[in-house]
C-alpha cells in the first residue's frame, strides 16, 4: 500500500513538474508576451490530423529535407504540444532580448533534431547549449524546456564613451576620427563619401527608455530592475535568485584585444600622406572590429541571460495584474504589450523632434487574443487607459445610434454596413485635453500656459452644444444591394471598306446602392448649404429630394433631410421610398443588436454579393467564377467595439466560417490548401 502511495505521489510530483507552465519563466518586467496555447490548438485539430493535412505534410517534408532527417509527425521534434509556447522580450538601455520558451516533452528527440553533421551543441548536466552559426543568438534547453534567446545591443549605449570604455569598445565615428583628415587631403574625397554614409549609428539623441516606466504603479508588484546595475560578481554558474541581465559585470571582454585606433591628429597626419580612400578603409576596418566586439559581448550576455532563465527563479509575469487580467483560457493565441506609452517611448527617439510628442500618453497595456471555435474566428483586442483617459472615453462613448437608422437596413440584401455613434458635445469638450496631453510636451514645458489658452479659445469659439445639435455624432453607411444602370459609350463600327464610323452604344453597369445617414437636430446649416448649391446651380431639386450635380462624378448623389436625419444615397428609388414612408424595413435581430448595442460596428456579408455582379464586369467568366466561389465560401465578417469596462476599451473582429467545416482551424487549413493548389 505504502509503495502504491509512494508511486502515486511520485507520479503526481512528476506530472506536476511536467505540467508546470513556462509562464513562470517569464520575468515580471517582460515588455511584450505572446502565447500560443498548444492544448487549445490541438483540441481543434489532433496531432495526427495535422500530420496528415496538406500543410502538415508540407511542413514535415520541408523540415525533413532541410535537416536531413525523417520526420513523420510533429511529435518527432520532441516538443510538448499540449503546453503553451511563449515569446517575450525585455528592453533596457543597453540590450533588447527576444526569447522563445518552448516546452520539451522528449529531450532526446529534440537533441536529435538539433544534432547534425554541421551543428553540435554542448552539454553540461542536463543543460544543452547551441550557438547559432552567426552568433546572433542561442538555443539552451534542458529536459523540460527550450529557451531561445536573441539579443541586439543598442548603439546608443556605446555612444556613451564612459560606458563603452568599460567594455573596451570604442565608438568609431568617421566624423570624429577620420573626417577631418579626409577634408584636409582632398575636398573631392568628401564628396565621394558624404557624411550620411557613415553617420548611421550616431543619431540617437535620446537614450532608449527603461522598462521600469509604467503608467500607474501597481500595488504589491515587485519590479525587477532591467538596468544592469547589479554590481555583484556573477559567473555563468547556476544561481538561486534571479539577477538582472549582467551587463555591468561581464569581464569576459577583457580577453578581447583592444585595437588602438588612431586619434584625430594621427589620422590627420596619416591622411596627408594617404588618400582619403585609405582613411575610409581604415575606418571601415576599425568599425568592423568594434562591431565584432559588440557582437561577442552580446553573446556573452545572452549566454548568461539564458542560463538564468533556465536555472533560476524570479518573480514571474504572473504577478503582473495587467497581464493576468488580459488572459482568457479559451484563446488559441494571445499577445500582451505592457504599455503603449512605453512602446512609443522606446521608438520615439527615432522620430527626432516629432518623437517628443507623446501621442500615446495615457494608453497602457494592449492585448489581443485569437479565438477559434466551431463557428468562427475571433480576434479580441483590449487597451488599458489611464483613469482620466478612461473617464473621457466613457463620456464620449455614452451615446447609442439613432434607432430610426435601423429602419433603413435590409438584412436580406445588405452587402455591408458600418455604424458609429459618439457624443459630439463630449468629444468637443474632451478634444482640447487630448491635444494638450499628446502635444503638450512636444511644444515644450514652458508652453503650458499657451496650450491652456489655446484650449480655452477652442472651447470659446466652438459652442459644443450648438455643434452637437447640428451633427449629433451618429452615422450609418449601408450598402443595401446592387443596381444596374444603363450607360452610353462611344465605339466604332466599320463599313465594308473598313471605314470607321463613330457610334454610341449602351451597356449595363452594376453599382452598389449606398445610403449614408446621420442625425441632426438643427438642420438650418444644411438647408442654407443646399440653397447656396441651388443658387450656384450645383444642386437641383425635386420636391424634397436634392440632386448633387457634380459634373465629374460618375454617379448621381441624392440628398434629403427628413425627421432629423440627413440622408445621402445614389439610388433615387431608395431615397424616394424613405421620403414617402414606403421603405420596407427588413433588419434581422442580429444586425439590429450589432448596430444598436455598440458604438462602432461593421458588417460585410459576402454571400449577398455572390452572382450579383455581371461576369463581364469582373473580368470574364473564369475570373467571375473564382470571385463568386471565394465569396460563397466566406461567412459574415463583423467588427464591433465593446462598451468600456473599468478602464479598458475593447473591440472584436470576427469572421464566421461557412457550413460544412468542423471548426475554424480546419477551415483555415482548407483555405490554405485551396490557395496553394
Amino acid at each position: 500500500m505504502k509503495k502504491i502511495l509512494i508511486a502515486i505521489s511520485f507520479f503526481l510530483t512528476f506530472k506536476g513538474a511536467i505540467a508546470q507552465d513556462l509562464v513562470k519563466k517569464i520575468p515580471s518586467n517582460a515588455f511584450t508576451v505572446a502565447t500560443i496555447k498548444g492544448d487549445n490548438l490541438f483540441k481543434l485539430m489532433f496531432v495526427k490530423d495535422f500530420d496528415e493535412s496538406f500543410l502538415g505534410k508540407k511542413f514535415l517534408t520541408g523540415a525533413s529535407k532541410s535537416l536531413d532527417k525523417n520526420f513523420n509527425s510533429i511529435e518527432d521534434f520532441g516538443i510538448n504540444l499540449d503546453k503553451s509556447m511563449y515569446y517575450f522580450n525585455q528592453l533596457n538601455d543597453s540590450i533588447t532580448y527576444h526569447h522563445f520558451l518552448i516546452p520539451i516533452k522528449d529531450a532526446n528527440k529534440f537533441d536529435e533534431l538539433i544534432k547534425s553533421k554541421e551543428t553540435r551543441f554542448t552539454k553540461k548536466g542536463d543543460v544543452r547549449t547551441y550557438i547559432l552559426p552567426d552568433s546572433s543568438g542561442i538555443l539552451m534547453w534542458n529536459n523540460t524546456m527550450l529557451c531561445g534567446v536573441n539579443g541586439s545591443i543598442k548603439s546608443s549605449f556605446f555612444a556613451d564613451s564612459a560606458k563603452s570604455a568599460k567594455y573596451g569598445i570604442k565608438d568609431i565615428r568617421y566624423q570624429n576620427n577620420y573626417d577631418e583628415a579626409a577634408v584636409a587631403v582632398d575636398s573631392t574625397a568628401v564628396a565621394t563619401y558624404p557624411d550620411t554614409t557613415y553617420s548611421e549609428d550616431v543619431t540617437y539623441p535620446v537614450a532608449p527608455p527603461k522598462v521600469k516606466k509604467k503608467i500607474a504603479p501597481k500595488k504589491g508588484k515587485k519590479k525587477v530592475a532591467a538596468k544592469p546595475k547589479a554590481a555583484a560578481k556573477k559567473t555563468v554558474k547556476k544561481k538561486k535568485q534571479y539577477t538582472p541581465p549582467p551587463i555591468a559585470d561581464v569581464e569576459a571582454v577583457d580577453a578581447v584585444d583592444v585595437v588602438d585606433m588612431p586619434t584625430t591628429t594621427d589620422a590627420a597626419v596619416e591622411a596627408v600622406a594617404a588618400p582619403a580612400d585609405d582613411a575610409y578603409d581604415e575606418y571601415q576596418q576599425a568599425r568592423a572590429e568594434q562591431e565584432g566586439k559588440k557582437k561577442k559581448l552580446a553573446l556573452e550576455w545572452i549566454l548568461i541571460h539564458a542560463d538564468q532563465i533556465l536555472s533560476t527563479e524570479y518573480p514571474s509575469i504572473e504577478k503582473n495584474k495587467s497581464y493576468t487580467e488580459s488572459l482568457d483560457n479559451a484563446a488559441i493565441a494571445s499577445l500582451w504589450v505592457s504599455s503603449l506609452q512605453d512602446v512609443y517611448g522606446s521608438v520615439a527617439p527615432e522620430f527626432g523632434t516629432y518623437g517628443k510628442a507623446n501621442i500615446m500618453k495615457g494608453y497602457g497595456s494592449l492585448n489581443a487574443k485569437l479565438f477559434m471555435d466551431k463557428s468562427s474566428f475571433r480576434i479580441s483586442t483590449g487597451l488599458e487607459l489611464a483613469k482620466e483617459q478612461a473617464e473621457a472615453y466613457k463620456k464620449i462613448m455614452n451615446k447609442k445610434i439613432n434607432k430610426n437608422f435601423l429602419k433603413y437596413v435590409n438584412s436580406e440584401k445588405a452587402i455591408g454596413f458600418m455604424g458609429y455613434s459618439i457624443d459630439t458635445k463630449a468629444y468637443l469638450e474632451e478634444f482640447p485635453k487630448f491635444m494638450k496631453q499628446a502635444y503638450g510636451s512636444f511644444l515644450g514645458s514652458n508652453m503650458e500656459q499657451e496650450i491652456e489658452i489655446g484650449s480655452d479659445l477652442f472651447s470659446l469659439i466652438l459652442d459644443e452644444e450648438a455643434v452637437s445639435k447640428v451633427v449629433k455624432g451618429d452615422a450609418l453607411f449601408v450598402i443595401n444591394g446592387l443596381n444596374s444602370k444603363e450607360v452610353t459609350y462611344t465605339s466604332y463600327d466599320y463599313d465594308e471598306d473598313y471605314n470607321r464610323k463613330e457610334v454610341t452604344k449602351t451597356k449595363k453597369e452594376t453599382l452598389p446602392d449606398f445610403l449614408f445617414m446621420f442625425s441632426s437636430e438643427d438642420t438650418r446649416l444644411f438647408n442654407k448649404l443646399i440653397n447656396y448649391g441651388i443658387n450656384k446651380k450645383l444642386v437641383s431639386v425635386d420636391q424634397n429630394i436634392y440632386k448633387i450635380a457634380a459634373k465629374q462624378s460618375p454617379i448621381d448623389i441624392y440628398l434629403m433631410i427628413k425627421d432629423g436625419i440627413v440622408f445621402f444615397g445614389n439610388s433615387l428609388t431608395e431615397i424616394q421610398s424613405i421620403s414617402n414612408n414606403s421603405y420596407r424595413t427588413n433588419i434581422s435581430k442580429a444586425h439590429k443588436n450589432l448596430l444598436a448595442k455598440n458604438n462602432f460596428s461593421f458588417l460585410f456579408n459576402a454571400k449577398n454579393l455572390v452572382g450579383k455582379v455581371p461576369d463581364e464586369e469582373i473580368g470574364g467568366k473564369e475570373t467571375a467564377a473564382k470571385f463568386n466561389e471565394t465569396l460563397g465560401k466566406m461567412g459574415n465578417i463583423y467588427m464591433k467595439s465593446n462598451p468600456i469596462k473599468g478602464n479598458i476599451v475593447s473591440a472584436d473582429i470576427s469572421a464566421e466560417i461557412p457550413n460544412g467545416h468542423e471548426n475554424a482551424l480546419k477551415y483555415l487549413f482548407s483555405l490554405i490548401e485551396n490557395a496553394a493548389k
Binding site: V487, T490, Y498, I555, I618
Partner: protein, 226 residues
C-alpha cells in the same frame, strides 16, 4: 474628414474593386502609291468611362499614381511636339475628349519608314524601355507593304509580374489595325487579317492580352496589284 475626401473614399469603396476595363487601341494607316500616307492612332476608354472617372478622382490606385487631366494633356502635347520635329512627318494633330476618354494623334508621312523609330523614341522620351520590334516598309517597285512585328518577350514577363487585379485592366482590351491602300490588295499573308470588300483595306483585330502573350502576331505582308 473633408467632404471631398469622404466622397473620394466612397467612390473608391463602391467603384474600384471591379476594375476590369475595356479599352480600344486603333491604328489606321493610309498608304498612297507614291509611298506617302497618313496615320491615325486612337485610344478609346469610353466603354470604361465610369471607372476611369472614378479612378481620376483618386490620387493613386493599386499603388500607381493616377495622372491628372493636365498631366495627360501635357504628355500628349509632348508627343505632338516630338512628332513635329521628326523627319518626314508633317500635319501632326491631336484630340482629347475627357468626357468620353478618347485621345487621338494623327500625322502624315513622306515615307512609311519614317514611322519606324517614332514609337520607340516616344516611349524612350517617357522613360519606358521598349525594344524596337515593330517596323513598316513599302517597296514602291514590287508594291509590297510589310509590317514586321516581333512579340516583346519582356511584355509577357512584365505582365505576369503584375498582381491579378492589375492584370484585369487588360481583360477585354482590343487592338485593331486598319491599312488602307490606293491599289487593290492581292494577298495578305497574316491569316488573322481580313481584306475588305473593295479589296483596298486590310483589318486585323486582336485582344491586347493575346498580343502580350504572343498568341497572335500582327506581322503582315500585303501585296498590292502592280
Amino acid at each position: 474628414m473633408k467632404l471631398k475626401e469622404f466622397y473620394r473614399l466612397l467612390l473608391f469603396i463602391i467603384l474600384v474593386p471591379a476594375l476590369s476595363s475595356c479599352f480600344q487601341v486603333i491604328e489606321e494607316l493610309t498608304l498612297h502609291n507614291d509611298g506617302t500616307g497618313e496615320v491615325i492612332l486612337t485610344i478609346n476608354l469610353s466603354q470604361s468611362k465610369t471607372k476611369v472617372q472614378s479612378v481620376m478622382l483618386l490620387d493613386s490606385i493599386n499603388g500607381y499614381k493616377v495622372p491628372s487631366k493636365q498631366k495627360i494633356q501635357q504628355e500628349l502635347n509632348e508627343a505632338v511636339a516630338y512628332l513635329r520635329k521628326s523627319e518626314g512627318i508633317s500635319n501632326v494633330k491631336s484630340t482629347s475628349d475627357f468626357n468620353n476618354y478618347i485621345a487621338t494623334i494623327s500625322f502624315s508621312f513622306k515615307d512609311v519608314s519614317n514611322i519606324n523609330n517614332i514609337t520607340k523614341n516616344i516611349l524612350a522620351q517617357q522613360k519606358i524601355k521598349a525594344p524596337n520590334t515593330s517596323s513598316y516598309n513599302f517597296n514602291k517597285t514590287t508594291k509590297l507593304f510589310s509590317r514586321k512585328y516581333q512579340p516583346v518577350g519582356t511584355a509577357k514577363t512584365e505582365y505576369n509580374k503584375l498582381k491579378s487585379k492589375d492584370k484585369a485592366v487588360f481583360n477585354g482590351a482590343t487592338y485593331t489595325s486598319i491599312y488602307r491602300f490606293e491599289s487593290p490588295v492581292t494577298n495578305s499573308s497574316n491569316p488573322a487579317s481580313n481584306v475588305s470588300k473593295s479589296g483596298k483595306a486590310v483589318m486585323l483585330k486582336s485582344s491586347i492580352l493575346d498580343l502580350i502573350n504572343g498568341k497572335i502576331n500582327v506581322s503582315n505582308q500585303i501585296q498590292l496589284s502592280k
